[in-house]
């Protein structure tokens, strides 16, 4: 061992409240963080990663408590600190970057002020100097147009920019230790790469000790010096990154690694003879938001002349950077929003011409899985109902519908009891199914029926999308889609409760699985014997999935899992993407791509 550890966690035990799935969230974890090194903590959802991190920052929720252990930092046991002691350390010596760039910033405060608060909290500098430092920091983390950005409000920034701002804040006082709890999970692939690089560089320059939490083995491969694998609150494996990757000891680690999809798309049968399931012709959509105080109306072209079709049995991948209009196109196809121009045809039916009852009747022919699995489940309805509602609305006998729902849940690996649970309760599942597992299940199921071919299409942020790519516009997409309440808040609204809920990320995978099951059940109920052709592309790569129907009705699901963008990158390099599109992508994208295969 070279340098002495900056932080040394010894035998940490964190007790969960009564009635939790297990007595200890963290059960005897020991780990060291050394200056200049990045320790990656990996493990399935609910394994206690965040708990460790929060314990290190003294930010554990009120409901849990440290049962035993110690955290040594600069000769002190952090667990014995009083409030003032913590306040002094936090920010100055220990800093943290949070998972959600959208919600981790105060929406009512300017970015610069929030950065300056870092100094203020520790009584450093004059207000004017603080502003100057904030500007310098913004520049340092590579925020474009820093003068503007420090005066901007969080919602005016893109997710990546916000995360940069967070990082700037965390680094403001040159802390000795940086804790990063899944800092890139919510970001698109390009941004993620940039952020990772930034963290790495800053960490090296300042010789910081970093605890980096992630789910994503791609990320681990990218930056880890050391890897710690957690399971059920216990460390199951630990060691240098290369060792863990190349010679995993524990079965669990092996399983985790196995769950990472391989890069080679399988051979597909040609589909040329298949009929067109979906036909999209010349879709245009411009969002118009009227201006603010003396500002002009703002227009965002979310789709311009979008054309594509999907053959029966085919899966179409729609990819593009955040805010490029993927979700918008999906919503247009679904007729959740009205297109300015263009036609969507499902089989022979022109969906854009329908309305009211007729539209409702045709709805079942095309289905969607939403981007945010948590947001797309009604928190006040039981899973069973959520799944069965659609078929029942389409006239299926409720009993049959529930039986099918049970089957489907079984298919995605959830027990029948899940029918009776509410969405949020999936964070408490005895055997947490993290998203890798969920994905694997999906794939298994898909595989059984699987046949077909996969195409991907990059939605080009061409000239028509220029407006959307202006830095201040980009976050709109995140905000508008994930935070509809905050952007479209009316004065008569209460603050939105959904935000708090978003922290329940642990069970996201389950929820996604359930949502998907709902869509698929529906497909079967309506058309009989629907199947998905997903092959190995599995939840990894695809923004929208078509579920070809063995009968006649094609189904389309949309499932842009932003979190998997890193894998998507790999996928993209393998398929024959037109060069023009590739060159449009950001440099980080291009640079990172070739490394990936070696790591895996």
């Amino acid at each position: 061992m070279t340098a002495p550890p900056a932080v040394s966690i010894k035998n940490l035990r964190i007790a969960l409240p009564k009635g939790a799935e297990r007595p200890f969230a963290v059960d005897g974890v020991s780990l060291d963080l050394r200056p200049g090194k990045i320790v990656c903590v990996v493990g399935e959802s609910g394994s206690g990663k965040s708990m460790c991190a929060h314990a290190l920052m003294g930010l554990l929720p009120d409901t849990v408590s440290v049962a035993s252990g110690e955290i040594q930092f600069e000769g002190r046991d952090l667990l014995k600190l009083d409030d003032d002691g913590w306040r002094d350390l936090r920010g100055r010596r220990l800093a943290m970057i949070f998972q959600e760039p959208m919600t981790a910033l105060n929406p009512l405060m300017r970015i610069g002020d929030q950065m300056a608060e870092m100094f203020e909290a520790h009584g450093l500098l004059t207000p004017r100097e603080r502003r100057a430092r904030a500007l310098a920091l913004a520049r340092e983390v590579g925020l474009p147009d820093p003068e503007r950005i420090v005066r901007a409000y969080p919602h005016q920034l893109s997710g990546g920019q916000r995360q940069r701002a967070m990082i700037a804040m965390a680094l403001a006082l040159e802390p000795a230790v940086l804790v990063a709890d899944e800092p890139t999970t919510a970001l698109d692939v390009t941004t993620q790469a940039q952020i990772l690089k930034l963290i790495r560089n800053l960490q090296r320059n300042r010789n910081m000790a970093v605890m980096f939490i992630t789910h994503d083995f791609g990320v681990v491969a990218d930056i880890a010096d050391q890897v710690v694998v957690l399971r059920h609150g216990k460390v199951v494996e630990e060691g240098p990154a290369a060792t863990v990757f190349n010679a995993p000891q524990h079965d669990y680690t092996k399983a985790l690694l196995a769950a990472v999809p391989s890069m080679d798309p399988p051979a597909r049968e040609p589909l040329d003879d298949q009929a067109r399931a979906v036909e999209v012709i010349g879709l245009d959509k411009t969002y118009v938001t009227s201006g603010g105080w003396f500002r002009e109306d703002r227009r965002v072209d979310a789709a311009r002349a979008v054309n594509f079709n999907i053959l029966r049995g085919e899966t179409l991948g729609l990819v593009g950077e955040s805010g490029s209009g993927k979700s918008s196109v999906a919503r247009l196809v679904m007729r959740l929003i009205e297109a300015d121009r263009g036609t969507v045809r499902i089989g022979e039916t022109d969906l854009t011409q329908l309305s009211g009852k007729a539209l409702r009747a045709e709805r079942h022919r095309i289905q969607m899985i939403f981007q945010d699995p948590f947001a797309s489940l009604n928190p006040r309805r039981k899973i069973g109902h959520i799944i069965a509602d659609g078929p029942i609305a389409a006239g299926l006998d409720p009993k049959v519908a529930f039986d099918r729902a049970r089957d489907l849940l079984k298919m995605v690996g959830l027990d029948a009891g899940a029918l009776e649970r509410y969405p949020h309760e999936f964070s408490r599942r005895p055997a947490p199914a993290h998203r890798h597992c969920a994905r694997a299940r999906t794939r298994t199921r898909d595989h059984r029926r699987g046949r077909g071919r996969l195409r991907a299409r990059r939605l080009r942020p061409g000239a028509s999308l220029a407006a959307a790519r202006r830095p201040q516009d980009a976050p709109r997409s995140l905000d508008a889609v994930h935070h509809p309440r905050s952007t479209r808040r009316r004065p008569d609204l209460r603050p939105h409760r959904g935000d708090a809920a978003r922290r329940h990320r642990r069970a996201e995978a389950d929820r996604a699985a359930v949502r998907r099951a709902g869509a698929c059940l529906y497909a079967r109920a309506a058309g009989g014997g629907a199947g998905t052709e997903r092959a190995r592309a599995g939840g990894v790569t695809i923004d929208r999935i078509e579920l070809p129907n063995s009968g006649m009705v094609p189904k389309t699901c949309t499932r842009p899992e932003v979190k998997q963008i890193r894998s998507r990158r790999i996928f993209l390099t393998k398929i024959s993407l037109p060069m023009s599109a590739r060159s449009k992508s950001t440099p980080a994208f291009a640079r990172a791509a070739p490394e990936a295969p070696q790591r895996m």
Partner: protein, 323 residues
């Protein structure tokens, strides 16, 4: 933004006119004839007298014509003539409006300040005894009839302790000027404003509490803690500011209704405001005056709604001027 305001104002005017028309019929549906009321008060009533009164007030004209004349008046900003008080309605309202605004705005400020203060405390100590105590305290003023609270206040502060005057807007006959006058008015204002304010406090307390608890759970609060900010700063700058948004909304709705809603407070404290004017007009079936007060109240509500909207949009940078 300008077009937003213009649009809102235009809509407001249309709503106002609709309200005038509806009020016109509504009020006339109520049984009771102003001429008979006045004749009754005069201690005599004969046919000629009642007929004379009705002619004088234009009550003998067919309803649509009366309506037309009234609306015509309102459009030209003429609120008509009060039968009973023999004075232009606008003048009568004008005399009372300042007192009402003073009372209601003070009460409003008191209720907001106390409500937010107590709500903050309750949220801070949620689930503890203090929380319950605050809730009960706030509800006492909410659930107790205003006149009762007012009377208790008078007994305590005027009769027993002799600290504050029990009625009126200023000391009659004192002829104070300048600062002394202001102090005098303030003394008279304290009790009615408190009484009214304490009533509305309950709502704000509960709203603030709920909203604070909500915001407290949000991620950015954790960020703020991770910065090493002190608790006080976090509560004030991060939690409270965000939690206040829905309170502002509610306050906007209230500020308007407060104006006409102070009838009882104004009565008990003999505060020369619009609430009492309206109440008397209602009992006397002084149609024009009553309509006038209604129109003014409606206009106030609409104006306050607009102001809150604007304030809200200023406070919350995320809001766009969607129309």
């Amino acid at each position: 933004m300008l077009s937003f305001v213009a649009q809102r104002v235009l809509k407001g005017v249309i709503v106002l006119l609709a309200i005038v028309v509806l009020n016109f019929f509504l009020i006339r549906l109520a049984p009771g004839d102003p001429a008979v009321v006045m004749a009754g008060e005069a201690g005599a009533s004969d046919q000629i007298f009642v007929k004379q009164l009705r002619e004088k007030f234009g009550l003998d004209k067919p309803l649509p014509e009366q309506l037309f004349l009234y609306v015509k008046g309102v459009v030209t900003l003429d609120l008509g003539f009060s039968f009973r008080q023999q004075a232009p309605v606008a003048k009568l309202i004008g005399e009372r409006l300042p007192a009402t605004l003073l009372l209601t705005l003070t009460a409003f400020a008191i209720s907001l300040m106390l409500g937010i203060l107590f709500g903050t405390f309750a949220a801070r100590f949620a689930g503890t005894f203090l929380d319950t105590a605050i809730t009960v305290f706030a509800l006492i003023f909410y659930a107790m009839p205003i006149f009762w609270v007012a009377l208790m206040g008078i007994l305590l502060f005027s009769v027993t302790m002799d600290w504050l005057p029990s009625f009126g807007y200023e000391t009659v006959g004192a002829n104070l000027t300048g600062f002394a006058h202001a102090v005098d008015v303030a003394k008279h204002l304290i009790m009615p404003a408190m009484t009214l304010g304490l009533f509305f406090m309950a709502t704000y307390t509960r709203m603030t509490r709920a909203s604070m608890l909500e915001v407290k759970r949000l991620d950015f609060v954790k960020t703020a803690r991770a910065k090493g900010l002190s608790d006080a700063v976090i509560q004030r700058r991060h939690v409270l500011r965000n939690a206040l948004l829905p309170v502002v909304t509610l306050a906007g709705v209230h500020s308007g209704t407060l104006i006409g809603g102070a009838v009882i407070t104004e009565t008990v404290f003999a505060w020369p405001g619009i609430g009492r004017l309206m109440y008397d007009a209602l009992l006397q079936r002084d149609y024009n005056l009553l309509l006038g007060v209604f129109v003014i109240c409606s206009a106030m509500v609409l104006i306050f709604n607009l102001i809150t909207d604007l304030v809200y949009r200023l406070v919350d940078p995320r809001i766009e001027f969607a129309s």
